[in-house]
């Protein structure tokens, strides 16, 4: 579990029936990587290749260890890869109780109660206490998903592969599990590759993104940068586009459970983030959460108004919408407005405006505040 250079370097190519996949990507050692793309684009296939369950031509190197190299005939069998895999369907062992399912991987990888990943912790996190002696056949869909997550977590993975693990879970469960995953990755530096359809989940959790479409990699990179690119519109739901701002904590307003941040000289107030003064954090700001004012607004509940310059206005044909890019000290905020508003306010590139941010989402770290979107109202 030592910190090594490398991360994951992978390339896979092959055919499944009429479907062709051909991808090459790198995933940095540190961080959570989202595998994102429409249904049937090949996400599960990529995950299976990494786990060694599917054998396509290609190369795979994890932390400097070569797990697969078709050219040299190297292929590490799946059970020798220290991964945790959460399958798209829960796939519990029907002949084992919930407890035995959880312990199956744990026993085989010598898990004891080591910080954060002990049996009891996982059981508590996933609320499995009452289910331990039950048979998987009697569980509800969401309960099965939770057991599957727990089973993978308890197998002491050095790399966690999760195929839409949180679908079928209610918001409360999601809100409890997501920060745990972030913590896992942070404290044990376990990289996580996470398949998801939900951009909100991706944005909240992922440091990196791989965007796949029809078996090809169409974009990859840090979540912020990837989301900033406008041309993902067809893949990423446009409502969810946004940018990431890097800020520094400058003051804790404990009475209001709020924290004041600095972004290149301007102030932002967000719900409390319990980290020391001076910590750098990243905020994700979704285009739909940003409004524009032509002068500094007063008497309004939106606390965060960043001064900037309109750099570009992109009208979406055939819709009511336009996207306005505002340059705030170098960072480009995106605001999604109605074309009516653009017209009424007479917005033009070069114009000086205030970007009103209704709410932000903490990006990646720190964990305490990850659980929920954070309103800057």
């Amino acid at each position: 579990m030592s910190e090594r250079v490398g991360g994951i370097v992978a390339s896979f190519a092959g055919r499944l029936g009429a479907f062709t996949i051909d991808v090459a990507f790198e995933i940095p050692r540190r961080g959570i990587t989202a595998l994102f793309g429409p249904s049937g684009c090949g996400k599960t296939t990529i995950l299976r290749c990494i786990a060694g369950l599917q054998r396509l031509e290609g190369r795979l190197q994890v932390d400097g260890e070569v797990w697969q190299d078709s050219a040299r005939g190297i292929f590490l069998p799946p059970h020798k890869r220290p991964i945790g895999y959460v399958f798209q369907e829960a796939s519990l062992f029907p002949h084992l109780s919930v407890r035995e399912n959880l312990l199956y991987g744990a026993r085989r990888s010598g898990t004891r109660s080591d910080g954060g990943r002990g049996f009891d912790d996982v059981v508590e996190l996933l609320r499995l206490d009452a289910l331990l002696e039950r048979s998987p056949g009697t569980l509800s869909g969401g309960q099965r998903s939770r057991v599957a997550i727990g089973r993978a977590l308890l197998s002491r993975p050095r790399l966690l592969l999760m195929d839409e693990p949180l679908t079928g879970l209610d918001l409360r469960a999601k809100e409890e599990i997501l920060p745990y995953l972030a913590m896992l990755h942070r404290e044990f530096s376990i990289p996580i590759v996470y398949v998801s359809h939900e951009i909100a989940e991706v944005a909240q959790l992922a440091d990196h993104m791989l965007v796949v479409s029809d078996g090809k990699l169409v974009a990859s990179g840090p979540t912020a940068a990837t989301l900033e690119r406008l041309d993902l519109g067809s893949v990423v739901d446009r409502f969810e586009a946004g940018v990431v701002l890097t800020c520094r904590v400058v003051e804790q307003l404990s009475a209001f459970r709020a924290t004041r941040l600095d972004h290149r000289g301007q102030n932002l107030v967000v719900p409390e983030i319990q980290v020391p003064i001076g910590t750098e954090i990243r905020l994700r700001v979704r285009a739909r959460e940003v409004s524009i004012a032509t002068r500094r607004p007063e008497g309004i509940s939106i606390r965060n108004a960043l001064e900037g310059t309109v750099s570009e206005i992109v009208e979406e044909p055939d819709t009511a919408y336009a996207e306005v890019l505002v340059d705030v000290g170098g960072a480009k905020l995106r605001a999604r407005l109605t074309r009516l508003a653009v017209h009424d306010l007479g917005l033009k590139p070069g114009q000086s405006v205030f970007a009103l941010i209704k709410s932000v989402t903490l990006d990646g770290t720190p964990a305490q505040a990850l659980a929920t979107g954070v309103s800057g109202n």
Partner: protein, 225 residues
């Protein structure tokens, strides 16, 4: 009759038990291979496994005599024990019964392994279980109904098996004279009262054994159902 019957009874049980056990050992890997291999000729192998059934037991027994005899591989093995042949010995009986009952063990097991599917083994692999480990901890427990069927069919068939045993057993009291042969003798010599008693005893006893096995299996699976 009473004393004389216990030796065949013991022998029959021993034979059925040993045959079933050894067929489990031999049949399981064959069935597993048939279920998992992608070899193009595996269906040919599967068909060969069923062939012992096609020959009448006495005829099969005749060929076994040749194989077990001094000019066959069996005689070669028997030579190691200072015997001319494996025929007329308990090990010979076991071999004959195994050949004849092989399909009853392999067919249900193969179907059960097929029904397990790939997924549970993939899951096991991601949880660090080696193929060997996964086979024991996942495939075998999930294939339990197939094991039950295989055991029942093999056991019952070996108890009732007759032609082959008769053919290669030599009917040596205490060594190769099993119950079915004794029963045959009674029928052949028109001692029908004795025949009825033995047949009834075999049926009742086997019914009890099979029922007990089934109930235990269903209880085990219900515990998890």
């Amino acid at each position: 009759m009473v004393e004389s019957i216990w030796s065949p009874v013991r022998l029959t049980l021993e034979l059925a038990f040993v045959t079933t056990l050894l067929l489990l050992v031999v049949g399981t890997p064959i069935a597993w291979w048939l279920s998992r291999s992608r070899a193009p000729w595996k269906e040919a192998v599967a068909s060969v496994v069923a062939l012992p059934l096609v020959l009448p037991p006495t005829v099969l027994g005749f060929y076994l005599l040749i194989l077990l005899g001094p000019n066959g591989p069996g005689g070669w093995i028997a030579g190691g024990f200072g015997l001319p042949s494996l025929a007329f010995t308990f090990p010979g009986l076991v071999i004959g019964s195994m050949v004849y009952s092989l399909p009853f063990m392999v067919q249900p097991l193969r179907n059960a392994f097929d029904a397990v599917g790939e997924r549970p083994l993939e899951v096991a692999a991601t949880l660090r279980a080696s193929p060997w480990d996964a086979f024991w901890s996942v495939a075998v427990p999930l294939a339990r109904p197939g094991f039950l069927s295989g055991i029942i069919l093999t056991f019952a068939h070996t108890v009732g098996e007759f032609g082959v045993v008769l053919m290669i057993g030599g009917n040596i009291p205490g060594e190769t004279k099993v119950l079915s042969v004794a029963l045959f003798d009674y029928v052949e010599t028109l001692q029908w009262r004795e025949a009825h008693i033995i047949a009834g005893g075999m049926v009742v006893f086997s019914f009890a054994v099979i029922l007990a096995m089934s109930l235990i299996e269903r209880r085990m699976s219900r515990a998890r159902g």
